[in-house]
Subunit: 205 residues, 3 copies
């Protein structure tokens, strides 16, 4: 009877999946910084393009929710989910841009680890999104993301202790802290995505 | 039939317009900093008064939405719209206060440009608010605000590159970055106002 | 007739009270830093445990709201209230952690005052939460919290002027500013809790 609403729901799930896939492209591009002699400016430029791609998907998501009479779950949850996915990309783009802007030429070990954690978080998120349609097998996703965020947080704090131990000049500390803050914010946004998915699943169960 | 609800709606639209007008007064005051030998402390004091005026309007808006059975559009959208208008003023006030506090006596060119962008953003927003009642001719408003925010963001990032190029001492860099961050946050809040207006219009269309 | 819904409501009010009480435990622990020769690392470790306790209460709150057909007030208000209570603890924990991380051994007077303001804010909040059930005698609570936040804001800004007056090296300024930012954010989150309580009460009246 309500089958005519089905296609629209498929559209939503498709957009969540596309959005998460776009993030995975972003973190994959970010891992380009881990290779020997990375092209910081080239990667920053490519990230701007990717951010625009993700923006377009988020915009399409919001247009769809606004024009839909029935949505697969609460409208406000769709907004928060879409915005949080979008936030991840904003922080990754900002981190890359700051590295190019500040002329960072060598990435400290802690930041390399944070980039790897973000890339894993993106894969785990992109894997989970298609399962939203069936509302199952999602618990291990949010548990895994919470564990990854804890690791990112620990790495971030250890990096702060290293940054401020007195061996670097203040301007260098400020630049590297700016970059680390954006990476940490990206990890937080992945966790926010997982939290809202958990909320959606709990409401439906 | 529903004409008895009309007056309350007029009240809402009047409050949105007053709130945006209050912001325009704020950015106009901010442009006082662009004149020769500006009175930083006097402008900061005047801004505190303006912030209180805007606060009162926001508070009135929230009281009205809480006591209304029917609102012109979603309650939660009214909250987000009111809070985002309020956020602009908070950031402008903080920027001015920090300049007075840190003893900034000369405004770098990039910050002067950001202030001009904010003043234009406030005018564009104040012009658009009265059109909310008719829900039309608003598309050019949000397109213009997005373009202004992109310009502010570009100016901000160019300023960061200048700040960190090594010709300034670290404390000066920190002070000017604090001020620039608040101006950039003000531009972001103008964009958030435009985004929520776009959402409201799309829902109604 | 609706008495079968009562127990669930009691559960909600109990969880709000527990959450605020958990914060009061947090700020009480924070005041341990005001004693002579405080154990910064021990206090930071104890704060991590307290943060986990508070997290568990917030999580229980969200699970309860998700599984309830009827809630004592708007679901979205419960989320905002729960998240804001949780935010206070996050900022207090972060402040303590940064002090231990940065090797702060002596707390400047302004930060001591901010800690006392936070401890008072927590007591006032914990006192008010049980009154949510009756929806009365809450006005003096939010007025008091707003006054406390104004005092915290003033202390924070005076501290910034002191920090940047040139007598400290840049790295020390950055460390102490990081700590002050977290304490200021904690005071802001207490105000956000009070604002949402005001909104809830106004809606019901």
């Amino acid at each position: 009877m309500f089958s005519r609403f089905k296609p629209k729901n498929d559209l939503f799930y498709g957009l969540f999946t596309s959005s998460a896939q776009c993030l995975a492209d972003g973190t994959k591009t970010l891992t380009g910084l881990l290779e020997p002699e990375p092209d910081f400016e080239g990667i920053a430029r490519r990230m701007v393009d990717l951010e625009h791609d993700c923006d377009r998907i988020t915009h399409e998501m919001f247009r769809t929710v606004n024009s839909s009479f029935i949505t697969p779950f609460d409208r406000s949850d769709i907004y928060v989910l879409g915005s949080s996915l979008d936030d991840v990309m904003d922080h990754i783009e900002a981190a890359t841009h700051l590295m190019a802007l500040y002329g960072v030429t060598e990435l400290p070990q802690h930041l390399r680890e944070m980039i790897e954690i973000l890339d894993t978080s993106a894969s785990v998120t992109a894997d989970a999104m298609p399962r939203l349609a069936g509302m199952k097998d999602l618990e291990r996703y949010w548990i895994e993301i919470n564990a990854l965020e804890n690791r990112a947080d620990h790495t971030y704090r250890t990096f702060l202790a290293y940054l401020f131990d007195g061996h670097l000049d203040a301007l260098t500390v400020m630049k590297l802290k700016d970059v680390a803050d954006e990476l940490e914010d990206a990890a937080d946004s992945f966790e926010k995505v997982a939290n809202i998915v958990e909320t959606i699943v709990l409401k439906e169960s």
